[in-house]
């Protein structure tokens, strides 16, 4: 029988809710019928813990006395955006320090979450309402007002695996790719990954409450580069980057266990973000999506050695997670993950506990995301300076 989110929340309140992780659900589906599972299980928790470059934090520093309208803002030497009123800023995870290429916005965010002091330097024009022209001080998460994560693109639905056919080593955001297709890297948690368990985003939309960085957060928009036109396999799984999410959450309550800065050699800074999404088992159709297994999730293998990243083949997460992938030419190649499956499991388990103990309730989305969105590339024009 079909259930509603309100009915599931009532069960959470009564302590009767049945929650399992997506991996457990997939395992159960091997010997229990989908109809029975749809009836018996109320919520399935999904999670991922991977490097998500399109992440940022919004900060309000509080006013200086006498006031300053901040420009040229840096936090530990990392530039933050100056175009948001007097003392608001947004700092992007991938922004790099002027002094140390291995330190960036993600490190600033991580340091603030850890409670560390961060050096704030800013200049101002000096106006009647904001006369101060320069400040150089220290802040931490207790001295500032708002400090929330706002990540424009997280939780990629699927992502192509990467290899490198050239004779040179490639340092990429997909890790170090050895020459002559000697390794393959991949970066999703497979059958545990949030948007692979709800491939058409039937239950996830604006306002969906999620686990973000160790506390609760929210889905606030579709992520950037949101793509619903990617070719799908027979299970509805897009064969590469498809849907994405924009998410928000109170960074003051987050933990550096679930938000970690990262540095990729000759690529730059990124940030590991821990995301967990509860998916209500509304009916048999949702149960069928949630029963997806790594064998049924395909992704393309792209050649990162060549401009345009042409495809060299197709694989499944079952094969990727086995540690060996056979390429179409018969070559057996070592495969390795870039996102942490053990951390994703920890997050899915934690979210399960929160729901079971009644401290986390599900939400119904107030707006669903587009079904006809594709990704454009930049148009290059002559006389581009005009």
């Amino acid at each position: 029988m079909a259930k509603s989110v309100a009915q599931i929340n009532e069960k959470i309140k009564q302590g009767k809710v049945v929650v399992v992780t997506a991996e457990e659900f997939t395992l159960m589906a091997q010997h229990t019928s989908i109809e029975v599972l749809a009836d018996e299980v109320d919520v399935v928790t999904t999670a991922t813990f991977g490097p998500m470059c399109s992440s940022s934090a919004v900060i309000n520093f509080g006013h200086w006395s006498p006031g300053i309208r901040m420009e040229e803002i840096t936090l530990n030497g990392v530039s933050a955006y100056e175009g948001l009123a007097a003392v608001d800023t947004i700092i992007g995870a991938t922004a790099e320090s002027k002094f140390d290429p291995t330190y960036g916005g993600a490190n600033v965010i991580e340091d603030l979450i850890a409670g560390k002091d961060v050096r704030l330097v800013a200049r101002g024009k000096g106006t009647d309402c904001y006369p101060t022209k320069e400040i150089d001080t220290w802040i931490n998460k207790d001295t500032i007002n708002e400090f929330y994560l706002f990540n424009p693109r997280n939780s990629y639905q699927n992502y192509a695996a990467a290899t490198n056919s050239t004779n040179k080593i490639r340092n990429t955001y997909m890790g170090i790719l050895l020459p002559r297709c000697s390794n393959i890297t991949y970066s999703t948690s497979g059958e545990l990954s949030p948007l692979l368990n709800d491939p058409y985003l039937r239950t996830i939309g604006l306002g969906t409450r999620i686990f973000l960085g160790g506390t609760e957060g929210y889905v606030v928009w579709n992520g950037t580069q949101y793509n619903t036109t990617r070719e799908r396999n027979e299970h509805g799984i897009p064969l590469g980057g498809g849907a994405t999410l924009a998410v928000i959450g109170d960074a003051k309550k987050m933990s550096t266990d679930y938000i970690r800065s990262a540095y990729y050699e000759k690529y730059g800074i990124s940030m590991f973000v821990g995301i967990g999404i509860p998916i209500p088992v509304l009916d048999v159709e949702m149960a069928r999506h949630l029963a997806i297994s790594n064998r049924q999730i395909d992704t393309m293998i792209l050649d990162y050695g060549i401009e345009g990243h042409p495809s060299v083949g197709r694989t499944t997460y079952a094969e990727l997670q086995s540690g060996k992938v056979t390429l179409p030419d018969g070559k057996e190649v070592k495969s390795a993950p870039l996102s942490s499956l053990s951390m994703a499991r920890e997050i899915a388990k934690l979210l399960q506990e929160w729901i079971e103990e009644g401290s986390f309730f599900l939400t119904e989305a107030v707006h669903m995301f587009p079904q006809d969105s594709f990704v454009k590339t930049m148009v290059s024009r002559e006389e581009g300076t005009r």
Binding site: N183, T185, Y264, F272, P337, L338, L341
Partner: protein, 137 residues
């Protein structure tokens, strides 16, 4: 006993068959773990010598006499395990299988298998690996 050494050659020494001379003169087994040697340019070998204490110190003395700079590798790779998030990026480049994922997807580091290729130093997004210093032999 087994010890690892870094041997640095000048361009002229590259032309000499030092490794085979060493084996014939002293009762040591030589395992070449890493080699970067080119004619006319000199080079560096990372070797593991096994044999008795006497054979090893004799070998080192002989190598030094031949004009090779010898330093002992006293710590190979250092790994700050507590910062590890078990992402697995390092395992992508570890051909010796010193770094691998266990069935629970936690990283396992087996120093005995490490050949100090140092690719993991660059591969780790948490920067937890370092190739340690050598000390003069």
């Amino acid at each position: 006993m087994k010890k690892r050494y870094a041997l640095r050659f000048s361009p002229t020494l590259v032309e000499q068959p030092l490794v085979s001379k060493l084996v014939r003169t002293y009762d040591v087994d030589i395992n070449i773990l890493n080699a970067d040697v080119a004619s006319g340019r000199g080079g560096k070998l990372i070797v593991e010598l096994s044999g008795t204490q006497e054979a090893l110190s004799g070998s080192v003395a002989w190598l030094l006499d031949s004009g090779i700079l010898v330093s002992e590798m006293f710590k190979e790779l250092t790994f700050q395990e507590e910062g590890c998030i078990n992402c697995g990026a390092c395992t992508a480049v570890c051909s010796s299988r010193a770094l691998s994922m266990d069935p629970q997807w936690k990283l396992v580091y087996d120093p005995a298998l490490c050949v100090v290729c140092s690719l993991c130093v660059q591969a780790c997004p948490m920067q937890l690996f370092e190739v340690s210093n050598e000390r003069e032999a």
